[in-house]
């Protein structure tokens, strides 16, 4: 799966949880840039992403995830393992 495909699935997870698509996700995007993305919705988005990719993040990786770039990278490495 290439980066664009991953990003599109990630965007879908954001739309599902946040119930709006008023955002653009790029490597540098953080929670401050997206309306409604905060502690609680972040947890829901993570669960949604795990479900749609059929992966399970490690708490250690989630702990150090700061932006969309980190998220994509972690998904890529998880897919490789799986």
């Amino acid at each position: 799966m290439n980066k664009e495909e991953i990003l599109s699935k990630v965007e879908h997870a954001f739309v599902t949880i946040l119930e709006h698509d008023n955002f653009k996700l790029e490597d540098e995007t953080t929670a401050n840039d997206v309306d409604g993305w905060e502690s609680v919705t972040h947890m829901m988005i993570i669960t949604e992403i795990e479900k749609s990719f059929g992966i399970k993040f490690k708490l250690m990786d989630l702990m150090n995830m700061n932006n969309i770039g980190d998220l994509i990278q972690t998904i890529q490495s998880e897919i490789q393992v799986a």
Binding site: E19, V40, H42, K56, L59
Partner: protein, 498 residues
């Protein structure tokens, strides 16, 4: 005031210990003393003696915590507002409490109409920690919670109330903080649970670890547990619901105490969580803001103490000097094993809601006991007392729900949702459970679909983020029960969010 003197004794006898860890920076008790003295000098020179209630902007920094202690040394109360909450709501709170002066550590001061003390730019002063003489009836803090009328509801807590809480916890042999403890403080200072997470560590000379604003709270809590080897956790149950999928990766042998409060703790998750904390005692605390944080607890243990009702862990027994009473609609005690409204009596009880006589008449009553009039507070929580004397939580008697530990009156959310809508349509707010078992708010609108942007923009200027519904459903006709009322239970089924 004895507990204020105790704070002074503790901070002056632990000067070389760390007092706070805030965003990776440590502050010693000596640093704390210096900040308290600086802020106090501005309070005593800039605010008249007669002005007792002072606004406090709750940033995540040493100055904000030092401000609380400085105000207490001066016999004054803090009225906290969260800088992330809508400005209009914060102004309303200041207006309701008739605030004239504010302590604000923010880079930019935005409350222009008030006398502001910029607490992070005060030059060094000499140490001055001797508390003033003041009455126990004076107010130590006022917290504003969700009210049914669309206005926040003020709960004043006196110095005597706080002293009684400290007294009750000190009498509890199962819980003793030490100067070497590292304690989690994950709450907004506008939330009453925060009082125990900064006050008890400061009284013991231990270190308080806060959560930086803007971080993903749940992961930061885990990061602190793991990297800082926290020993004392105080949390709302929703935290572990969110961490639950990762429990197998959590092993925290350093944790000695884990206290829950601010919501129902479920048996199944408590058992799983306790396996992550092999050396910890777990307390399920109960207590409303009106009763100064805690009124009692149940000592949960996965093998020996698992008492529960409908899967919700018992709230146990009242603590020292507190009495519980379960009553019917006429405020008469019900027999053992019968559900009724839990009422509390004792020295931790608020003198009454801030300037709200009507609400006070509904929420407090007197009862004759041994020839004395005893004042009781009606919690709105349905409970059962069992034959062992333990109290079990059953549910709410009204439409108040808990979102991430915060109390939310559904009526207040409905009020603000309807206020800006020119369409005269019915709107009902319901609490729904997400996949992780946490409550979220859903807004049901009896109409064809329309653009709700304006309604949400309006709500966001009136209420903090946890009160904004996260789901919307348009329903052509609301379901009704046989007696004609809107069937909220059926309505919830429209929100399939799992």
């Amino acid at each position: 005031m004895k507990f204020v003197e105790k704070i002074v004794t503790s901070i002056t006898s632990h000067t070389t210990n760390q007092a706070f860890c805030i965003n990776e920076t440590y502050y010693s008790y000596a640093d704390l003393i210096s900040e308290i003295s600086k802020i106090r000098s501005r309070i005593s020179t800039g605010i008249p003696d007669s002005e007792k209630l002072i606004g406090l902007v709750t940033n995540d920094d040493i100055q904000t915590y030092a401000s609380i202690i400085a105000l207490w040394l001066e016999g004054k109360a803090y009225v906290p507002v969260n800088p992330d909450a809508p400005l209009e709501r914060n102004h309303k709170i200041f207006e309701l409490a008739e605030i004239r002066s504010i302590i604000d550590s923010s880079e930019t001061l935005i409350y222009k109409d008030y006398h502001s003390i910029a607490s992070h730019t005060i030059p060094k002063t000499s140490v001055h920690l001797k508390p003033k003489t003041f009455s126990g009836e004076d107010i130590a803090y006022i917290l504003f919670t969700s009210g049914t009328t669309g206005l926040p509801k003020g709960v004043p807590i006196t110095f005597h109330n706080v002293a009684s809480l400290v007294n009750a916890i000190e009498a509890e042999p199962e819980f003793n903080l030490e100067a070497s403890d590292r304690c989690l403080q994950m709450f907004e200072l506008t939330f009453d649970f925060s009082v125990v997470t900064y006050l008890f560590p400061l009284l013991a000379g231990s270190c308080v670890y806060t959560i930086p604003k803007g971080s993903i709270k749940y992961f930061y809590v885990f990061k602190l547990i793991k990297e800082k080897k926290l020993t004392v956790l105080t949390m709302v149950p929703s935290i572990i619901n969110y961490l639950r999928p990762y429990f197998s990766e959590i092993n925290a042998p350093d944790v000695r105490y884990c206290s829950f409060g601010g919501g129902a703790l479920h048996s199944d998750i408590a058992k799983e969580w306790s396996a992550c904390l092999p050396n910890s005692k777990i307390f399920n605390y109960y207590g409303p803001t009106e009763f100064t944080v805690y009124s009692g607890f149940y000592p949960y243990h996965p093998e020996t103490h698992t008492k529960a009702h409908n899967g919700v862990i018992a709230i146990g027994t009242p603590q020292k000097n507190t009495s519980y009473l379960v009553v019917d609609v006429n405020n008469k005690e019900v027999p053992l094993g019968t559900p009724g409204e839990l009422c509390l009596a004792g020295p931790q009880m608020t003198p009454g809601y801030w300037k709200n006589e009507e609400k006070n008449k509904q929420s407090f009553f007197y009862r004759q006991e041994n020839g004395m009039d005893v004042r009781y507070y009606k919690t709105g929580d349905l409970c059962i007392k069992d034959k062992d004397g333990d109290y079990l939580y059953v549910g709410r008697v009204d439409f108040q729900v808990k979102i991430r530990g915060y109390r939310v009156e559904l009526a207040e959310v409905e009020f603000h949702a309807k206020a800006k809508s020119d369409r005269k349509v019915n709107m009902v707010v319901v609490d729904i459970l997400n996949t992780l078992g946490n409550a979220e708010l859903g807004l049901a609108i009896e109409s064809e679909a329309f653009d709700t942007q304006e309604i949400f923009n309006h709500m966001k200027t009136k209420m903090p983020d946890y009160m904004i519904p996260t789901h919307i459903r348009f329903i052509n006709e609301f379901p009704h029960s046989i007696n004609g009322k809107i069937d909220r239970k059926k309505l919830k089924e429209y929100f399939d969010i799992k």
